[in-house]
């Protein structure tokens, strides 16, 4: 039996439905700042207009704080013992480039519970489809987040 109100969480996240659609523009300054932050200087043969492979993280509405539809999970009546990103996956149809105007469509696709060392783990998985201005898909991502709770048995 689930310790967490999974059915309520799934319903509030509207599992499978579009949770939000956002538009982001890829700017040269943002790429440069990101490269510096991840210790990835350009080599002499590198194209400065191509985004690093993990730039997809900057296009995730949850990471950016643009999509807060799961804020209620932080108000569950159980002590929180940890949490953060559980996993990230990306498949690129083409590299992200400076000047791209990208539409990101987010859906929550999975909610499940596991028992872990830090307590009861709540996993929430979301998927982003990233398309360019012509409607062509650029990438798809799958991102899992975990929160751990101490729940008295």
């Amino acid at each position: 039996m689930s310790a967490l109100p999974l059915d309520e969480i799934k319903a509030r996240l509207r599992l499978g439905e579009v949770a939000g659609e956002f538009e982001y523009r890829v700017e040269a300054n943002d790429l440069a700042r990101f490269r510096a932050a991840i210790d990835a200087p350009l080599g002499p043969d590198d194209d400065p207009e191509l985004a690093p492979p993990t730039y997809f993280a900057l296009l995730d509405p949850m990471e950016r704080g643009d999509l807060a539809s799961d804020a209620f999970v932080y108000e569950l009546p159980f002590p929180m013992t940890g949490g953060g990103n559980a996993f990230n996956e990306v498949e690129y149809d083409r590299p992200i480039r400076v000047g791209d105007v990208l539409t990101v469509t987010t859906r929550f696709t999975e909610v499940y519970e596991k028992q872990g060392r830090q307590g009861t783990l709540l996993f929430r998985v979301r998927e982003n489809e990233i398309r360019d201005a012509s409607g062509e898909r650029v990438a798809k991502t799958r991102l899992g987040h975990v929160l751990s709770f101490e729940i008295a048995s």
């Binding site: 690093p52 492979p53 990471e63 953060g84």
Partner: protein, 138 residues
């Protein structure tokens, strides 16, 4: 490295290791660049309230180090077409993160190489595990 690597690379080949020293400034810079302003990464009191013993290193920062290890190994023109990462342990700042990788598959027909990548913390725990597929233009 270039597409010619497909003619000579072998499964099991190790990538050159990279090492990254992480402190509060690193986390603040990454937060500013990525937009991830979760307080567990820069507010020590809040991090402890959330159950952490210190400031948490962003998982995606570690993932970025690994993806960059793969990309730079591939050389000019190489593209990381797929990347998958799991966060199996928490790193707390200050930290020294060592990034390692090895070749797991070679597909000359499609022009791709598969890699296994991972980070090791200061105490040699594996805290991040990843796979990457690199492709060179034909």
């Amino acid at each position: 490295m270039s597409a010619r690597i497909l003619d000579s690379v072998e499964i099991g080949t190790a990538l050159t290791t990279s090492v990254h020293e992480i402190d509060l400034e690193t986390l603040v810079r990454y937060a500013g660049a990525s937009g991830d302003f979760a307080r567990i990464h820069y507010d020590l009191e809040y991090a402890r309230l959330r159950g952490f013993a210190g400031l948490v290193v962003h998982g995606l920062l570690k993932a970025s180090y690994l993806a960059e290890l793969a990309r730079s190994w591939g050389g000019a023109g190489a593209q990381v077409i797929a990347f998958s990462v799991r966060y199996v342990g928490v790193d707390l700042a200050p930290a020294r993160i060592t990034c390692r990788g090895e070749v797991t598959s070679v597909d000359p027909e499609h022009g791709t190489v598969g890699l296994r990548l991972w980070t090791e913390s200061t105490d040699e725990r594996v805290t991040t595990e990843a796979t990457a597929t690199i492709r060179w233009p034909r």
